[in-house]
Symmetry: C2
Subunit: 376 residues, 2 copies
Amino acid sequence: MRQHRKTPDMAHDIASEVSPKAGDRIEELSTPRPIIDEDRLAGNITRVQSYMDQHGLNFRPHIKTHKIPALARAQVAAGAKGINCQKVTEAEAFADAGFEDILITFNILGAEKLVRLAALNDRISGLKVVADSTVTVDGLSAWFAERKPLTVLVECDTGGARCGVQTPEQAAGLGKHIAGKPGLVFGGLMSYPKPSNAAATQAFLAESVALLKKEGIDCPIVSNGGTPSLFEAHLVPAATEHRAGTYIYNDRSMVRAGHCREEDCAMHILATVVSRPTEDRAVIDAGSKALTSDLLGFADYGHVVEYPEAVIKGLSEEHGVIDLTNCKGARPQIGDKIRIIPNHTCVVSNLFDQMVFHRDGVVTRVEDVAARGLVW
Amino acid sequence: MRQHRKTPDMAHDIASEVSPKAGDRIEELSTPRPIIDEDRLAGNITRVQSYMDQHGLNFRPHIKTHKIPALARAQVAAGAKGINCQKVTEAEAFADAGFEDILITFNILGAEKLVRLAALNDRISGLKVVADSTVTVDGLSAWFAERKPLTVLVECDTGGARCGVQTPEQAAGLGKHIAGKPGLVFGGLMSYPKPSNAAATQAFLAESVALLKKEGIDCPIVSNGGTPSLFEAHLVPAATEHRAGTYIYNDRSMVRAGHCREEDCAMHILATVVSRPTEDRAVIDAGSKALTSDLLGFADYGHVVEYPEAVIKGLSEEHGVIDLTNCKGARPQIGDKIRIIPNHTCVVSNLFDQMVFHRDGVVTRVEDVAARGLVW
């Protein structure tokens, strides 16, 4: 809690109300606020880990979705082999929480990040990063040549069109380059493919592994990723592990992708109807600073559980404007609280310092979002 | 700074590098990170305040854009009459910083917010809120009847299609209702109009004032708002004051609206090119967790100053994918730092705990974003 929330002229009972406590009812919480259903959360962890176990795949959850060490501990307790971070600072936060096997799936560049990366590598046993260019690799090598060696995987673009080398030949070439560089250990391959791309990903990764093998270079890790097509991970047998983040909370985009059902969505945004200016318009206190503007191809900004025909057609920063035109039955009244399944959970987590968990509407715990807002 | 950034096994020089310091060069800062140009900031404050002074309008800056008390102090020092907040918690943070004249332009509902609102009203002299329904007004009255009275303005929908009563008759009726309610003082009218809507706003507000006058009820404040058409504020003479937030930083949407020039944009997102997978693709380390997904009608996610023909065509959370197809000249290389004018500054402020200011590329100061991420 920040200092200014504890001003001396605020009554003690107000200050203590800032944080929800176990036992509180969620409908009494101030809004807007994301809430996490414990049973759905546990169900999501179990379902995905069981699938990975069934197919003999190592599983590496991506913590960007929740940024909460207690949830990563639950994922590891269920059987996950390690964790995936996207930033050095996220990895620091999770190293502080005791995690040792951390893959940072990012090209690390720049003096300040390298300083921090080396300090992190010195204090945990299983740090790994990725690279897709000799610029990144040579920068890492220059820094780590006189230090504890750093493990580096080659990032491969198997169709995701983000980062990554473009061909198996380039993957093998960069892998060989890493293997020959002082201060670096070649760790294998990594891909973040587009959904429903198992065949192309398998072909790319298998050929890269084969080319490296010809050079006498093994790939200890071949890391594939993504939630939308997670249950097709076994169709990429070249991979030794799979990474996924969103599956732990799930969201509207994952329902659409067929990954889960609406009743598997563990995160809701609790919001209050603050205005009903017209018969067909409701305004809630959740705007782009609570739901974010992520559309992910949807025409509106979230799914209202209680009024499924309602359309969240516009967001300003602290207001959401809902079109009720299609609502056939009852319509929300001023003061009513509603629950929204966000289009994208991972960006919502990044807006809030704390996350409230509940079971059947009763608060079970409040967790700090430990890695929220870390700059890089 | 958070506890986990100060782990004992991190070298002191690393910990001290977490926060930029005055005198640092911005091109040496880790990315992604928003930076604020001091001279542009000062120019924006002066230009808008001069316009308001010239037209005899009181000016009430909206702090949602920056959430930083030092900037609100600069706005008040330039001549602003008070400040505008959107949440009770924002108002608390600014009351802690010494501000007394605060208008919260939101319908406040719910026990926890009312408890905090009353505590806030007890400790500052000029707290005001808005309401657009008898539900909100009656809830405020029930809470404040036995307390220090609260000033309430009627929110009017003069074309913005968000909150607000729909007609001058409704405005006058709700104003009369407030004036007759125990615990409340009628404070006047407030509108957040759509841009370029001066005539309709003037007509609505003037008629509402006249109807209330017939009932013997004065409107001490008639508050109009918005940055895009800010320089048309004098076309609404019924207003006694104008509110605006975005003008202090400005952004790509304000350039498009004709409010400012590109060289008036005080906020840039500093980002590093981390990958060049193909001839036409660059990937930067600023994604939706730095730029946000706010499109505001644009086809891409920001304007790259150094490569104006580049198109930031896609964001994932920590990556921005840039299409360089249209770039005729030099193209960015891996490791290059670029500056991006965001589509929308106000949502960027809400993602970062600190804001770095600079003059001619040298850091001048680092301010905590005091009201960032306050839940409601």
